[in-house]
Amino acid sequence: MKVHLTRRYLFSASHRLHRDGLSESENQATYGKCNNPHGHGHNYALEVTVSGQVNPQTGMVCNLVDLDGAVHREVLDRFDHENLNARQEFVATVPTTENLSEVIFNILKQSFTAAHLEKVRLEETMMNSFEYAGGADLRV
C-alpha cells in the first residue's frame, strides 16, 4: 500500500528580490516592495511530502526521526535566521520562493533517501504558497 506522508516545518529568513542585470526602475517594476534595498523577512512554512510502501514491521513509510533529522540538518540549519541573498545557493539566482522551493527539493532529494521525495510546498505568507515536485505533475 503506497502512502504519502507530509511533515510541516517552520523557519524564518530574510531576502531581497533584485537582479543585477536589470536597472533600478526595472527591478522596482518587477519586484515592487520586495525590491526595497535592505530586504525584509518571512516566517516560512515548509511541507515535505514523501511516499512509499508501509513497512509491515513498523507500520511506517519512514521513521519521522530520520526525516526530521535530514530536514533540520540540511534545510533548517542552512536557512533559518539567515539572509537568503547571502547564501551560496543564491549567488546566481534571485531568492524568490519559487527558486527556494526548487533548491530545497534538490537538497532533500540528495540527502534523504529513506523514502521517495514527492514534493515540497513552501508558504511564504499565509496568503501564498509554492509547490515543486522535481518537474513532475502535482497531484490533487
Binding site: M1, V3, H4, L5, Q57, G59, L64, V140
Partner: protein
C-alpha cells in the same frame, strides 16, 4: 469532474509496539510512541470524493449522506477509543497514521455509491499528515 472534501475530527489513544521486536528495538524505533500506557491525539480526517455534478441537484454527493457514512463507518468506531485495544484492524497491526489512513479508506470504500473515493487524509498533528489514494 469535481472534487469535494469533507472534514471531521476524532480523538483516540494508541501506542506503537511490535511484539517481534525486543524492548530495546521497540524503544529505538518508536521512541516515546512505544510507551505501553499509550497516549492520545486529536485527529483531523479529510475525505475527498470525486464525481460529476448531478445536473438535477448540483451535487457531486449528498453531503448529509456522506456525513452519515463517515459517522457510522469511521467516527463511531474510532472516536474516543483506544485504537490498539478497541479497533479490530489494530489488534494485529500498529496504529500508525499510515495504517490509520489505509484502514479508514477500507472502511469507506464500497460504501459511497454515487461519488468515487479519491483521497483519505489523516492529520495526527497540525504538522503531520498522511494521504492514501487507494494505491497498491
Amino acid at each position: 469532474m469535481v472534487y469535494l472534501t469533507r472534514k471531521c475530527e476524532f480523538s483516540a489513544s494508541h501506542y506503537y509496539h511490535n511484539p517481534e521486536f525486543s524492548a530495546e528495538e521497540n524503544q529505538r524505533i518508536f521512541g516515546k510512541c512505544a510507551n505501553l500506557n499509550g497516549h492520545g491525539h486529536n485527529y483531523t480526517l479529510e475525505v475527498t470524493v470525486k464525481g460529476d455534478v448531478d445536473p438535477k441537484t448540483g451535487f457531486v454527493v449528498d453531503l448529509k449522506a456522506l456525513k452519515e457514512i463517515l459517522n457510522r463507518e469511521v467516527l463511531d468506531a474510532l472516536d474516543h477509543r483506544h485504537l490498539n485495544k478497541e479497533v479490530p484492524e489494530f489488534l494485529q497491526q500498529i496504529p500508525t497514521t499510515e495504517n490509520l489512513a489505509i484502514a479508514i479508506w477500507n472502511r469507506l470504500q464500497g460504501k459511497l455509491h454515487v461519488a468515487k473515493l479519491h483521497r483519505v487524509r489523516v492529520y495526527e498533528l497540525p504538522d503531520l499528515f498522511v494521504d492514501f489514494y487507494g494505491e497498491a
